[in-house]
Structure formats: structure tokens, C-alpha cells
């Protein structure tokens, strides 16, 4: 599969690279970052990839967002929710 150019963004301070426009949840999985936070009684990790489960919640430039619905943009600062 041909992909668009990679851009840099950050997760919790670390710099990552992913093709621009890829879903943030997919980019994090591809980077080996699967544990996105802690929920009540279990860790949080992207699960449904379609906006249903809310397990992929993160903050993108400070705003709460579902990683599976947010496309990767150059320079976006992602932090755990």
C-alpha cells in the first residue's frame, strides 16, 4: 500500500512519525504504543477503531479526542487523557 509522506508528532513528549492523515490510533499501534491510559479496573487501549468504545481517549493539543477518529497532522501534541 502506498502511503503519504510521514510527519512528526508527539505522544507524551516522545517524538513519533506517521503518514499524514493516518488515524492517530493506528499510528500509535504502529509505533508499539498500545496502552493509552488507565481506566477503572483495566488499562485503556484502542479497541473498536470506529468511535464506539471511547477507550482511545487522548488529548490532542489539549482537547479531549478519540484517537481512532483523529487524523495525524504534523506537529500535533498528543498527551494521555
Amino acid at each position: 500500500m502506498a502511503r503519504p509522506a510521514e510527519v512528526a508528532f508527539s505522544f507524551d513528549g516522545a517524538t513519533l512519525r506517521a503518514p499524514v492523515g493516518e488515524s492517530l490510533a493506528a499510528a500509535l499501534i504502529a509505533a508499539g504504543l498500545r496502552r493509552l491510559g488507565e481506566g477503572p479496573g483495566s488499562p485503556r487501549a484502542a479497541f473498536c477503531m470506529m468511535g464506539t468504545c471511547q477507550q482511545c481517549l487522548v488529548r490532542v493539543d489539549g482537547r479531549l479526542a478519540q484517537a481512532c477518529l483523529v487524523p495525524v497532522r504534523a506537529g500535533m501534541a498528543v498527551t494521555p487523557a
Binding site: E22, S23, C48, M50, L57
Partner: protein, 479 residues
């Protein structure tokens, strides 16, 4: 607000795309709202711009629907998440029905409200997962979820993957994983070989789908992937993420362990009925169609005037049946709005009705395969988390039932199960089965009342420009 549209369609999967296209081509003023950045829905999901996916039958079918939609005259609102619905029957008692109201949130920018005289819901399904120990470990993802990762982005969920659950997606995902370079450690299929043998004849109406399924199985056999029929996941295990999965025959016996770094697991699809529940349409429980479904006539009318449901949201019948259902709903809406006379309607509906009937045979057989399997619910351990948002275990649910909860709304109040951000979309099926066991069936267990917002939205979207300081506070009365 501008004058109402004739028709609003919610969801641009195969059902919604076909519904909007049919109505707009016949001159109706149609708006189609879709949360994703491109039309396609789950099966024909478009890859993001710049991702060049090699064409396959799904891509071609999706592209054909997209092309027809693009020239139909439909107002297409992409990236619009519909969170609010109103109007229609939701008026004070005795008042005449209003046009339907749809509240949507665009990607950036101001919230939008529009009105339509008729509304077709094509919201599709979400995936059912019946909990087991370790299902919340990172590295465990849904089976349908895996198709999104693989299809739209070409990202692998892991390097060595166990694939488990029910239905054709098992083999689709396993074959796609192999093709993308991952190793498939094992496939655990809930169905017996006999179930597949009985289902296959219904697919002869779609030789293309049958051939594709057989090609998947052949690819897996060539690679020597173990396929375990009538097996379930006993547990996913690992310290910080899944490291191994234990599989066991449904009939019992010893479990077998498979090392892996990801588990894709799915127990079928559940129709999205949030919107029909909000409008208080009549529903029935149809296990073999995926769960609670709105009651529909042959033309996809609900019990609420001018409200229609097409596609898997009205009961799982698969991608092949969805466009025909969409066209039937669109024609019925035009007829009911007086935009199409009775004779023209009778003539126009013949083809989609036949197409739908044909495709729904195979779709129904696949839906039966993906229907909820009570044995999985029986096997949920007391300490297993059922509601992940609120951390509610099976034991806590059983305790609430001991304390007298008799239906889903009470269970929610007693335990917070289903009250978190997913609004019960993930835990609802397992929780409802646990209630049903005590009260004698899913009909009695009921479902949580439909509530807005349909999807989480930021508070500022609901409030708009409203500011606390704007509340007029009357001057205090003199003492």
C-alpha cells in the same frame, strides 16, 4: 434556519449512499450526514487521502456507490457527527408532528442544526464482544476493528496474531493479516464445521462472495494456520499486554495456549438502534438479526411516520443487501411525502425488493453465525470486568440482580453499568444477557432508554454561544 429538506439520511455506508442517491435522482432535496471524512461505511471504508489501496472487489463496489452519490444532487455533509435528534413524534401530546431535527457537529466549526420532513437512519452496527479474562489487555482489539486497521491504513495489530470469534470476518481478517505479512498463530471459530456446511448453500446466490471465502480458507491452509472449529477464548494473558491466548473447545476439555502479541476477537455485530430508541419506535428482540431491531415493514418503514431504517441498523443482513434496502426506504419516503404516486412507487420498488430478497438470504445465514452465543455469557467469571468504562464486574451485576434489579435501566442505576462514555455499546449485550437469565428473556430485560447525545460531544457544542453571564437574573424583590 433554511427551509426543511425533504429527506435527511444518517450514515453514508452502502445503505445510506444508495438511499440518498435514489431520492435525490428523483428530484427530492436530500441531505446525507456522515461522521467519517469520506462516504463508504464500514465495509467500503475509504482510505485516507494519499493512501493508495490496491483495488479489490470491495473497493470497486464502494467506488461505484460513491460515484453515483456524487452526481445525484445530494447535499453531502462529511465529517459531521450527528449527536442530537428531535421533532417528528417528539412533540407535546396532541400537537401535530414537526419536521425532524438533526443536530450535527462538523470537524471544526460551528454546530449545525437542520430540518427534514422525512428521516432515513442508516447507522449500521457495532461489534459485540462477550468479556473473558484479559479482554481488556492492550493488544486485544475487535475483529471488525482489525478490518479497519488493515483495510484503511494497512497497519498490523501485531506481528503474531490469534484471531477468534464468529462469522466470515474471522477468515477475512486472518487472510488479510497473512497478506500484510503478519503471522496468524491460530483461528478459534465458535461455529462448528456443520454450521458452515449448512450456511454455504445460501451463498450460492453470490458466487463471488463464496469464491472469496473459499480463497481465504485455502490461503490459510497453505500457510498451515491451525483452524480450531467450535473453540472459544478462555483467557488472554500477559503482564502489560497480551502475550498468549488460551483456547478451548466449547465442549470442554483441556485448553491450548498460543503465544502472540495481539488478539483480534469479535462475537458478531449488533444493530445500532440508538436513534430509533430516541424516537420511541417499536422494537423487537431478534437474536438471529443481531439483537434488538426496530419493527420494519417490507419498505423499511418504522412504527413512527416518515421514519425509516435501512441497512444493518435494521437487522444484520450484510453489505450486499444494504443498498437495495436503502433504495426501498428512499422510495417509500418519497411515496409517503407525496413526491411519488402509488403506481410509480409500485413499479420502482420491484427491482430493489427482489435484489434485497436475494441478498438477504446469504446475509441472514451469516447473521445467524454471528448471533449471540449464550455459552460465552455463561462462561464469564465473577471477577471479570463487564463494563469497562465504569469498571463493573459480573459479580457486581449479579449482586444488583440479587438486590432486585429487573431490567436494564435499573441495572444501570444500581451499578453504573452502561452509564460511562460508551453508553453501554460495548457492555450492553453481556449485561442484558445476565439480566435476561434472571427475568426470563431479553424481552423482559429490555434495553436502556434512548438518550441524547447519541455520541459524546463537547459541552460547548450543546451550549453554543450560551454563557452563564447571559442568564437574565431578575432584580431581587424589595423585602
Amino acid at each position: 434556519m433554511s427551509a426543511p429538506f425533504d429527506l435527511a439520511v444518517l450514515g453514508a455506508g452502502p445503505a445510506g449512499m444508495a438511499a440518498a442517491t435514489e431520492a435525490a435522482r428523483r428530484g427530492a432535496r436530500v441531505v446525507l450526514l456522515e461522521e467519517s471524512p469520506a462516504p463508504g461505511g464500514q465495509v467500503y471504508r475509504a482510505a485516507p487521502p494519499g493512501f493508495l489501496v490496491p483495488p479489490d472487489p470491495d473497493r470497486r463496489a464502494g467506488d461505484a456507490l460513491r460515484a453515483a452519490l456524487a452526481t445525484s444532487g445530494t447535499t453531502l455533509l462529511l465529517g459531521h457527527r450527528v449527536w442530537g435528534l428531535g421533532g417528528g413524534p417528539l412533540v407535546p401530546q396532541g400537537a401535530p408532528p414537526l419536521p425532524f431535527r438533526v443536530d450535527a457537529l462538523p470537524p471544526d466549526g460551528a454546530p449545525l442544526t437542520l430540518e427534514a420532513r422525512a428521516l432515513i437512519l442508516c447507522a449500521g452496527t457495532h461489534e459485540r464482544i462477550i468479556p473473558f479474562p484479559g479482554w481488556t489487555l492492550p493488544g486485544v482489539i475487535g475483529l471488525a476493528a482489525a478490518t479497519i486497521l488493515l483495510k484503511a491504513q494497512g497497519v498490523l495489530p501485531g506481528r503474531r496474531v490469534v484471531v477468534a470469534g464468529a462469522g466470515p470476518l474471522l477468515y477475512a481478517v486472518a487472510a488479510k493479516l497473512l497478506k500484510a505479512g503478519a503471522e496468524v498463530a491460530a483461528i478459534a471459530d465458535l461455529a462448528t464445521q456443520g454450521e458452515w456446511a449448512r450456511a454455504l448453500p445460501t451463498l450460492t446466490a453470490r458466487p463471488d462472495l463464496l469464491a472469496r471465502g473459499l480463497a481465504w480458507r485455502a490461503a490459510l491452509a497453505t500457510k498451515g494456520v491451525p483452524v480450531l472449529a467450535a473453540h472459544r477464548v478462555v483467557a488472554a494473558e500477559g503482564a502489560d499486554a497480551v502475550e498468549r491466548v488460551r483456547l478451548q473447545a466449547l465442549s470442554g476439555g483441556t485448553s491450548e495456549s498460543f503465544d502472540c502479541d495481539a488478539l483480534c476477537v469479535g462475537h458478531g455485530l449488533v444493530p445500532a438502534t440508538e436513534a430509533t430508541r430516541v424516537f420511541r419506535a417499536a422494537h423487537r428482540y431478534a437474536r438471529e438479526s443481531g439483537g434488538w431491531v426496530p419493527v420494519l415493514d417490507a419498505d423499511r418503514r418504522t412504527s413512527v411516520p416518515l421514519l425509516y431504517v435501512a441497512g444493518d441498523g435494521g437487522g444484520v443482513r450484510g453489505a450486499a443487501a444494504a443498498p437495495a434496502a436503502g433504495r426501498l426506504a428512499a422510495l417509500a419516503a418519497l411515496r409517503d411525502l407525496g413526491l411519488l404516486d402509488g403506481r410509480a412507487h409500485a413499479r420502482a420498488r420491484r427491482r430493489p425488493a427482489l435484489e434485497h430478497w436475494r441478498a438477504a438470504q446469504g446475509g441472514a445465514a451469516m447473521a445467524r453465525m454471528m448471533a449471540l452465543r449464550p455459552a460465552l455469557v455463561d462462561a464469564i467469571a465473577p471477577e471479570t470486568v463487564v463494563c469497562r468504562c465504569e469498571g463493573v464486574t459480573r459479580a457486581e451485576i449479579e449482586a444488583a440482580l440479587d438486590d432486585g434489579a429487573t431490567e436494564m435501566n435499573q441495572l444501570k442505576q444500581f451499578t453504573r453499568c452502561g452509564m460511562g462514555p460508551c453508553q453501554g455499546r460495548v457492555c450492553g449485550e453481556a449485561a442484558a444477557e445476565l439480566v435476561a437469565r434472571r427475568v426470563g428473556g431479553r424481552e423482559r430485560a429490555g434495553f436502556a432508554t434512548g438518550r441524547l447525545p447519541l455520541r459524546p460531544v463537547p459541552m460547548e457544542a450543546v451550549l453554543g454561544d450560551f454563557d452563564y453571564a447571559d442568564i437574565p437574573v431578575p432584580a431581587p424583590a424589595p423585602l
